[in-house]
């Protein structure tokens, strides 16, 4: 699927789509003003849980932490029946094997960051090795980072070629391309980077590594969603979206769901096409679900923090 539709695009500058930031902010405000209640809230929360990529990406990660997280991924809150699992766990390549084993028999996928995450400051050969390591260890999904420095210097072809090369080694594994929007600064850049990533073969585009502030924002995600919509319109190819970092409570996640629903519609309303990269979101969603079903406000003490 590499070079899906790139015929004729030799200069990515010509892809530049202007974005008016104030207009984007106004649109996002409208999403935030939607009031999600009762049944739609419960349905939305369950969907959110099912879309989470439970993530740990720290230098101090240990095998036991990864194991615990994998357990949590399958047993979110066992005292409450009828809850979905999360979509995937997201770890460093080193932990892919362990995660894969821990999740055996479940539907939960293993995603691995790769390509010299989070900075991407390494030659392509190393990035390819990094990716192969993750794949060989059994990763179902690869979360790569783009070379932001090259992007900002205008070397769009470099960025494109790198993504295309990674995609090639991914084979069946789905490739999520992290734009690190916090370093791209403008929404016009976010839009262009989204387009480059999709033309280069991304199965998902993802906002952030979680290591740079700001991470995912609704504004940035909105621009990426419209890029996905336009790409679908132009090529007929559906691409997924993953905001990551900074989405830590249900209310905000529901606002993302509203945005997704009103921008891309029901075809994207599943974990096949939308993910939340988050570590602490799951528990807040769980608390809200239990509150919604019992009518009782919840305490964090009753939800495990793995």
């Amino acid at each position: 699927m590499v070079n899906k539709t790139l015929s004729g695009v030799s200069d990515f500058t010509s892809l530049r789509i202007p974005i008016d930031k104030v207009g984007v902010e106004e649109r996002v405000e409208r999403f935030q003003k939607r009031s999600i209640k009762n049944g739609s809230k419960l349905e939305g929360l369950k969907l959110i849980l099912n879309m989470i990529d439970l993530t740990t990406l720290e230098g101090k990660d240990t095998p036991s932490k990864v194991k615990q997280m994998c357990y949590k991924a399958q047993h979110l809150h066992d005292v409450h029946a009828g809850l979905p699992t999360v979509a995937a766990v997201c770890v460093y390549p080193n932990f892919v094997k362990l995660a894969k084993e821990s999740l055996k028999g479940s539907n939960v996928k293993v995603a691995s960051v790769a390509t010299a995450f989070p900075s991407g400051q390494a030659p392509l050969s190393i990035k390819l090795e990094d990716t192969k390591l993750a794949l060989d260890s059994g990763a179902d999904e690869i979360d790569m980072v783009i070379s932001r420095g090259k992007f900002l210097s205008g070397d769009y072809n470099f960025v494109y070629d790198e993504i295309a090369a990674i995609k090639e080694v991914c084979g069946e594994a789905r490739l999520k391309v992290i734009l690190e929007t916090g370093e791209l600064v403008t929404l016009d850049n976010v839009r262009l980077a989204s387009d480059i990533a999709m033309y280069a073969g991304a199965d998902f585009i993802k906002t952030s590594t979680g290591k740079i502030s700001p991470a995912a924002t609704m504004q940035v995600t909105y621009v990426m969603l419209t890029a996905i919509r336009d790409f679908m319109y132009k090529t007929g190819v559906q691409v997924g979206m993953k905001p990551a970092g900074g989405i830590s409570n249900s209310k905000l996640a529901l606002q993302y769901m509203v945005m997704l629903y009103e921008t891309l519609g029901p075809d994207w309303m599943s974990n096949e096409w939308f993910r939340f990269g988050a570590s602490s979101l799951a528990n807040d969603v769980l608390m809200q679900i239990v509150k919604q079903e019992t009518g009782r406000y919840q305490s964090a003490d009753y939800f495990s923090i793995d």
Binding site: I17, P18, G23, S35, I36, E262
Partner: protein, 488 residues
């Protein structure tokens, strides 16, 4: 993308009702006239019903003021002008107006809910636009009261006297604020006539003004119909008429005052052009189109009702617009998720439907979003027409509803010419990411307000008003003060 049916979409996710509570709203069964600081019965003893257009149910009985009531109100206003208000220290006047603003803020939610019930507008807009803007208008003009000499340097500034103010039903409270605040700041007294279908927030405002302790007679509210308004226009002791409403009525007023010394400002109709160039930020432009025509059910004098899209992006823009229209929620005005509420009255709905029929007869292609309209109440689905010409009736006449006409163009000169080819000149929108082009268009469009890469934004400091048959005089900002002072 694979198109799912409406039902399938609903099955996946839909927004459950999220109604704003109206339990705390206190309304009387019957409202009298507010004259000389007192609630007085109308001379005729007649009352009429004001109803909720979303349910068609009666909300309250409203006094039907006649020429005798108007005369009483004008006398009270004259007396208050002569004895109190024009003599008061401007800084004291300012404090009264500040106080009104503060009480409005305290009662903001109540005002918003009542506005929705009486007018059909949605709570999101009443809460976030109408009411805060109305409060802010009082805040803004309050501060001018003791600074008039800075507003008009090298000139002697005097108040005019008694202002008769007649306001429309589309932004009932906000229009009352636009009228009353600058009038009071400049030292005038007021006789206000709200629109017959939306008197409640003006009456609530009278309560607030009363609560603020404003001297009796400074603001008087006389409810009623067209003849009540005519009595104000024709009253010999009115010095100034301020009217917002249709161009037709504006002309009647202008004829009525011909040869008198009454000053007039008119804020009338429009058929404003919203122009999308091919280099525009298209998603934001689509949002601007939606804000332009579907804000307040299209009951907006400056609505961007004539859309012009550059031909090479027209198909794409229309496709995006249609998709966006499908996400608009039409229904209960008090639901926080509703985007488009009820049409203000049965009559207005009939007018809109008449134009929709004309559009179809004229051979234009119509598109309406796939929405189940509520069974009771007055509703109209968001509607757009393509394939028509400058001469089509629906392109020329103000519809005052959620009905958009779309035309395409090839060159900038062509669109400037078409945009200006109207008797109106209230507002215009321009969407492009090219700065030089923005200023070319904003300079050449004959309109009092030009929104570039935005639409339907309002602010107390921003002058608003039209060219040509959209009226004269400005409201808002420093320029808005001028309508309420005598300069020499």
């Amino acid at each position: 993308m694979a198109k799912k049916t409406e039902k399938e979409i609903k099955n996946i996710w839909t927004y459950d009702p999220a109604p704003e509570s109206s339990d705390h709203i206190q309304l009387k069964d019957k409202y009298d006239l507010y004259i000389d600081g007192k609630w007085v019965k109308p001379e005729s003893g007649k009352y009429y019903d004001t109803s909720n257009p979303a349910s068609t149910k009666k909300i309250a009985s409203i006094a039907y003021g006649n020429d005798k009531d108007v005369d009483k109100a004008v006398r009270a206003a004259r007396k208050a002008y002569k004895n109190v208000w024009s003599k008061m220290e401007p800084s004291e006047r300012a404090k009264y107006i500040f106080r009104i603003a503060r009480i409005m803020q305290e009662r903001a939610r109540e005002l918003a809910v009542i506005e929705c019930m009486d007018s059909g507008k949605v709570i999101r807009e009443a809460r976030d636009v109408d009411v805060p803007l109305a409060c802010n208008h009082f805040f803004y003009y309050a501060g001018w009261a003791d600074k008039l000499e800075y507003a008009f340097p090298n000139q002697k500034v005097e108040s005019i006297g008694v202002a008769g103010q007649i306001i429309p039903w589309n932004f009932p409270l906000l229009m009352a604020a636009w009228k009353i605040a600058p009038a009071l700041a400049a030292g005038n007294t007021v006789v206000l006539k709200p629109a017959e279908t939306t008197p409640l927030t003006a009456l609530k405002l009278a309560e607030i003004i009363h609560e603020a302790g404003l001297p009796a007679g400074v603001v008087n509210v006389v409810t009623g119909f067209g003849d009540t308004g005519a009595a104000i226009v024709n009253h010999h002791d009115i010095d100034k008429i301020a009217f917002t409403g249709s161009t037709g009525v504006g002309k009647l007023i202008q004829r009525a005052v011909a040869g008198t010394n009454k000053r007039v400002t008119l804020e009338l109709g429009g058929k404003s052009a919203n122009i999308i160039l091919d280099d525009a930020p298209l998603d934001q432009a689509v949002e601007g189109i939606v804000n332009g025509i579907f804000f307040n059910q299209g009951h907006v004098c400056c609505a961007g009702s004539r859309l012009f899209v550059q031909e090479n992006v027209a198909d794409r823009v229309i496709q995006m617009l249609k998709a966006r229209m499908e996400t608009l929620v039409v229904g209960d005005p008090l639901d926080k998720n509703t985007d488009i509420g009820a049409i203000n009255s049965k009559e207005q709905l009939a007018t809109i439907n008449k134009y929709i029929e004309i559009g179809k007869k004229e051979g234009a292609d119509m598109y309406q979003s796939h929405i189940n309209l509520p069974k009771s109440g007055y509703y109209c689905a968001p509607t757009l027409f393509t394939n028509m010409s400058q001469s089509s009736v629906i392109v020329k006449e103000e519809i005052f509803g959620p009905v958009l006409t779309i035309q395409t163009f090839r060159t900038i000169d062509e669109v400037i010419q078409k945009a200006n080819n109207t008797e109106y000149g209230l507002a215009a929108g321009v969407w492009t990411s090219n700065g030089a082009r923005i200023f070319n268009l904003t300079t050449k469009l004959k309109a009092g307000v030009v929104w570039a890469n935005t639409y339907n934004r309002f602010d107390p400091v921003s002058p608003f008003g039209g060219y040509k048959e959209s009226g004269f005089g400005r409201e808002g900002g420093l320029h808005g003060l001028k309508s309420y002072v005598k300069l020499s």
